[in-house]
């Protein structure tokens, strides 16, 4: 991250186990995060937990901010983590001057979608197999 991008937000340090947000939390203020160093886990609140692990250069928390929706997932720091965070306006400014930030953010979204798609397909197959078993 360059100073140009950083000037639009703020840095924070989080200890292992810090919960940044939980599913259903309202989104306000600095709600879009960037992992500078450390490890963060996003958890989807399903009956069988679905987790995505985020490494440095990952951007998260954007979806709810763009959609003005409560948090869809939980976010927890697994290690001592340094994060950067923006509010919506700050992120818009930072991502309009930094193609790297825009690229990382889009790539993160496509990777997350692939996980969701694959999980959905896998669970559908399982449900189908289980239904077929019951029918037989």
């Amino acid at each position: 991250m360059t100073e140009q991008e950083l000037q639009y937000g703020e840095q924070l340090r989080a200890e292992p186990g810090t919960i940044l947000y939980q599913p259903g939390d309202a989104v306000s203020g600095s709600s879009i995060y960037y992992v500078v160093a450390g490890l963060v886990r996003l958890d989807l609140p399903l009956s069988e937990r679905l987790s995505v692990y985020l490494h440095p250069d990952s951007v998260f928390g954007l979806v709810e901010s763009l959609l003005s929706s409560p948090r869809l997932t939980g976010a927890c720091c697994l290690e001592s983590t340094i994060l950067y965070r923006w509010d919506r306006e700050g992120f818009d400014l930072a991502s309009s001057v930094s193609w790297e930030l825009a690229f990382n953010t889009i790539t993160g979204c496509t990777q997350y979608l692939r996980v969701l798609n694959a999980e959905f397909s896998g669970r559908l197959r399982l449900a189908g197999a289980s239904g077929a078993g019951k029918g037989a």
Binding site: L67, W99, I106, L113, L116
Partner: protein, 143 residues
């Protein structure tokens, strides 16, 4: 997300105003002769093709033959699934007659961004909606 949904998202993104100008055309424009293999099934590639003129066959290999799944033309995007996130090409794309296309690789993202930063915002908004939709679908499987 299906291939079709993803294509729609990318189309919205690329149709942002000012996305194409003469400089972009000169820098990224390619012409393919009839029956040229543009994308090969099973390859790994991180290029996206935006068709400016002509048509291509989207095919899948079945034994020794290629089965045509679809024909797409001007304004369509192909190869988008591999652009941001490396994935194996799922079809072979062959030119039907002469084809003109803009070809972007991952390394060109900076140029596309410079041409139209707005399209990244549109793309992010569309991707966010798709993520929300898929989370909803996963939740619905539980009930």
């Amino acid at each position: 997300m299906s291939d079709r949904d993803y294509t729609e998202i990318m189309k919205i993104a690329f149709q942002a105003e000012g996305a194409i100008n003469d400089e972009i055309r000169r820098k990224f424009g390619h012409t393919y002769q009839d029956k040229t293999i543009i994308i090969k099934e099973g390859d790994i590639g991180q290029q996206i093709f935006w068709i400016l003129g002509g048509e291509v066959y989207i095919t899948r290999r079945e034994g020794t033959k290629y089965k045509v799944l679809n024909t797409v033309g001007k304004g369509e995007l192909i190869g988008e699934m591999s652009f941001f996130d490396k994935s194996v090409r799922s079809a072979t794309v062959i030119s039907k007659g002469s084809v003109e296309a803009l070809v972007f690789s991952k390394e060109n993202f900076q140029d596309i961004f410079a041409a139209s930063p707005q399209w990244t915002k549109r793309l992010l908004a569309s991707l966010s909606s798709r993520i929300q939709f898929m989370i909803g679908k996963l939740n619905s499987l539980q009930h």
